[in-house]
């Protein structure tokens, strides 16, 4: 990349299409030019890149840029004719995963010479393998695995079936025996084609699938979808319902961070720490069930509002105790040198790496990036709440743990502060012939959903971009940073991503 002169302004004027979202229709030449310009804008990052194909076979490419200082998302729409689309990853490496996905799904290729990687299409996929696009499938020889094994190194295959409680994932560890030289992942074993399944559905059914696509982020991804649906309908949800949503979202963050810390103990072999963290986790899940009727907060949201109000008395009674217990566990962990030693300087991601790959969530914050869509792109009720993103330093496993600990405390306060305002509430939303972007800060970071409705109110195209899609791309960087074999599970626990979210 060229040296960046950091400017604050956006290169061109874009029309605002919804609060916090601007859009523009451009051609492929402009897309490259704008990407180039945006690369120089301070805190502007590529948040997503995806394609859609009309029934007539017209393909449109959409690039979503987030300008975090101006609290704006930019949706750039660019028609693609022919078999090539403008490659953005030469300018912005964060685009690479999405470019490979577009190639697999739509059989159009980025116009660069780089070999592509396999993302969600299995190597043995037949011609009939369900895809989003209609063009004939690309020849598979075009897709390469990324690893190179040479010299003393060999590839240690691991997965896809793994230990109990760990999702199916294939890891190719390239090693000389101890140090991990390279690592590549295959997520395709869990690809269920959720984006494809949403086409033709009504909003409510789409929410059902979106919550079950990546259940540990059911509220985060579900809220992003609901907000996209509501934005497309031009609707605003009742205030009490917005507070209820925020309470569910923060409870989701709290239990996930506790689970990540339990898993970190599991991977360092600290059974006592794991047991104590899991006791807290179980308390938090029971609290979710007492507050909302579901341990993992499924079916709290509804397009246009919420399905239920929380049992605020249960939260007020149980949350402070569970969070206090969590703090005691964490203090004990931080005093356990044998544990802390395994976390320090393990799986380091520098701030430059995090920015280069446009990472999101606690992972990016632990590397020193001030990025949190609750603060950067606020919507009700976050625009009324006091937020201070927890930014860490060092970018190692310990930094991630500390960011999560700080976020649990912050989320606890957010939940308790809103209990008086939360309630039920739901309005009718039936968007027709409209499209919109929605977002929410899930426990793992910014979740994005873009959805387009046809004239009958069914979904034409839904793009789901959970935080996992963003953040898995940094896993090999973190794994390569002078780590040995046994560090890999520790790094995975500290990332605490879902395979389900990436493979969707």
């Amino acid at each position: 990349m060229t040296a960046r002169t950091q400017t604050q302004k956006l290169p061109a004027a874009f029309a605002q299409v919804a609060p916090g979202v601007s859009a523009a229709q451009i051609d492929s030449a402009q897309l490259g030019a704008i990407t180039h310009e945006l690369a120089d804008v301070h805190r502007a990052r590529l948040a997503d890149l995806f394609a859609s194909e009309s029934e007539q076979g017209a393909v449109v490419l959409r690039a979503v840029y987030a300008h975090d200082t101006e609290s704006r998302y930019l949706v750039l729409e660019c028609p693609v004719s022919g078999p090539l689309f403008p490659a953005l990853s030469d300018l912005d490496p964060a685009a690479f995963v999405e470019e490979c996905e577009i190639y697999e799904q739509f059989a159009i290729r980025p116009d660069s010479v780089k070999p592509l990687n396999r993302m969600l299409m299995p190597p043995h996929a037949e011609e009939s393998f369900p895809r989003l696009g209609r063009r004939p499938r690309p020849p598979l020889k075009d897709v390469h695995a990324r690893h190179v094994v040479a010299g003393e190194a060999f590839e240690f295959p691991f997965g896809p079936v793994r230990a109990a409680g760990w999702e199916s994932l294939y890891m190719g560890l390239v090693t000389t025996g101890e140090e991990v030289l390279d690592l590549y992942l295959a997520h395709w074993h869990k690809h269920r084609g959720i984006e494809r399944r949403l086409a033709g559905l009504e909003s409510e059914r789409a929410l059902f699938f979106t919550e079950r696509m990546d259940g540990l982020n059911a509220v985060g991804n579900g809220l992003a979808l609901c907000r996209a649906i509501e934005s497309a309908a031009g609707a605003t949800v009742p205030t009490a319902a917005a507070h209820t949503r925020s309470i569910a979202l923060e409870l989701e963050r709290i239990y996930n961070h506790a689970a990540a810390i339990a898993a970190t103990c599991q991977t360092t072999g600290l059974s006592v720490g794991q047991a104590r963290a899991e006791i807290v986790l179980e308390r938090l899940l029971r609290l979710n069930a007492a507050a909302f009727g579901h341990r993992y907060l499924f079916d709290v949201l509804a397009p246009g509002g919420v399905r239920r109000a929380p049992d605020t008395a249960a939260i007020r009674e149980q949350l402070p105790g569970a969070c206090a217990e969590f703090r005691r566990v964490v203090q004990a962990l931080l005093r356990t040198n044998s544990h802390v030693d395994r976390l320090e300087t393990t799986g380091v991601l520098t701030r430059e790496q995090a920015e280069r790959l446009s990472l999101v969530g606690p992972l990016a914050r632990a590397s020193g990036c001030t990025i949190d869509s609750r603060a950067d792109h606020p919507f009700a009720p976050y625009d009324q709440l006091e937020l201070a993103p927890a930014v860490g330093e060092g970018g190692d496993v310990l930094a991630r743990m500390k960011v999560m600990v700080a976020e649990v405390a912050a989320s606890e306060r957010l939940v308790l502060d809103q209990l008086g305002d939360a309630g039920p509430g739901r309005i009718d939303v039936s968007p027709r012939s409209a499209a919109a972007l929605g977002w929410a800060e899930s426990p793992r970071g910014e979740a994005l959903v873009w959805v387009a409705f046809d004239s009958r109110g069914s979904i034409e195209r839904a793009r789901l971009r959970p935080a996992a899609v963003r953040n898995w791309r940094a896993f090999d960087d973190a794994a390569r940073a002078q780590n040995v074999f046994t560090d890999i599970p520790i790094i995975e626990a500290s990332f605490w991503l879902t395979v389900a979210g990436f493979a969707r």
């Binding site: 109990a164 409680g165 259940g215 059911a218 006791i279 993992y296 879902t498």
Partner: protein, 162 residues
Amino acid sequence: MSEPTADQLRRRALALFGRSLHIRTVDTGSCAVCESEIRLLSAPPYDLHRLGFFLTPAPRHADLLLVTGPAVRAMDNALLKAYEATPDPKAVVAVGACALGGIYEEDGLVHGALDRVLPIDVYIPGCPPSPLALLQGLLVAVGRLEERVAALSFDLVAEAER
């Protein structure tokens, strides 16, 4: 789980195998929440180990397969290998609405229900089934294994003992 059930389970597992029961899990496309509940089985509030159950990473040591997800076709190979590597008598437990066929329609990506791929002994409903529901399902699976051992011919038993 109430103590009589826990006791009952441990005694039956012991009587049946003269040792603890080993469980191998396979995820065929879950949303990660069923995995989370399985993970909690060994946490102190449920403590699977006190019941004589152990989670094993090796199918060859397993008596029970605990399978989540809608049976994504891309997992066929790995799933069948795990099944074949698990020695007889074995029981297969389908975990969660996905595995039972309640979420995904069959298509080119998923079978949509686990029993389209493997013979299932016990179905545990729920989205997700709570850890208690999982323990209840394991108890039923032990019952199935008992029947299966009882049905073995004497020749086979003698052979196994030799």
